[in-house]
């Protein structure tokens, strides 16, 4: 059970978009070039973000993507779920129902205890992802990345933002 690489891509792209000035858009091409990723396939991840309403898009030249909300309003969970889907990581097939000792027509009252525990763990994972937003990520990155690299990257992006 490993998350798609698209999740990683989407997170990094959102981190870049979070630093974009208001009203500017950044194209798939620029994002792909910046991260060294295949443009065509990266666009799939960005489409997922678009369909989830996390980013806004414009067509035509100087078109591209920008965040649909402020960075503080976008959590890691939003992005992960946009790409990976909202379905729980554990699906219960209710195999207890196959118990040969089970009386005919017996109907379970509550969900399987095994599934409940797995779902609680799933929720703990999601809760952790919900607790981190893009503004916090940007804050952390700005502290970690050498200011020289930080600035030149910003300018690189700005040069290509329509």
């Amino acid at each position: 059970m490993i998350l798609k690489s698209q999740v990683e891509w989407a997170l990094h792209c959102c981190a870049i978009l979070a630093g974009l000035p208001d009203g500017r858009y950044l194209s798939t091409k620029a994002l792909a070039e910046f991260h060294g990723l295949p443009k065509e396939y990266l666009s799939k991840a960005l489409q997922s973000l678009s369909q989830a309403g996390l980013v806004h898009t414009t067509l035509g030249p100087s078109g591209g993507y920008r965040l649909a909300k402020s960075p503080a309003e976008l959590s890691f969970l939003d992005i992960v779920e946009a790409v990976e889907g909202k379905t729980r990581t554990f699906v219960c097939n209710n195999i207890r129902a196959n118990n040969p000792c089970r009386p005919q027509g017996y109907c379970e009252s509550s969900p399987c205890a095994v599934a409940r525990i797995m779902w609680e763990a799933d929720e703990a994972w999601r809760e952790r992802l919900r607790s981190v937003n893009l503004a916090q990520l940007t804050e952390t990155l700005s502290q970690e990345i050498p200011s020289k690299l930080w600035k030149s990257s910003f300018e690189w992006v700005l040069d290509r933002a329509g």
Copy 2:
């Protein structure tokens, strides 16, 4: 990102094995029949448990599986990791290294901030799974399952335990 169904199977099988008297073994055939699962494929999940050292096995007739430790010493995480592997759910491909502004030979000091956050969430998930053991599951099940069904299932299993 969805866990394999083998995880579900392994958990339910361990729950059954947890109720087995000391020194008795239960075969793959019995476990598969009890849960309505394909015997051959279920054996793959049980093999994973065996390789991880969670269960003990005997060959020959009246052979099969039993837990290698007491139910209280076996956590959900042990079982999930035995089947699903111990690798983290998020893998960092360090795409930040492709940044075109990055100076030649620049070497990152710490792991990517994005990856750190994803790994923390992964750890929260694992921690939750680590906090539940088989004894607790058995306790919950014994309360939820009608005592009639509970007893007849126990006898069904005992009939087939070598």
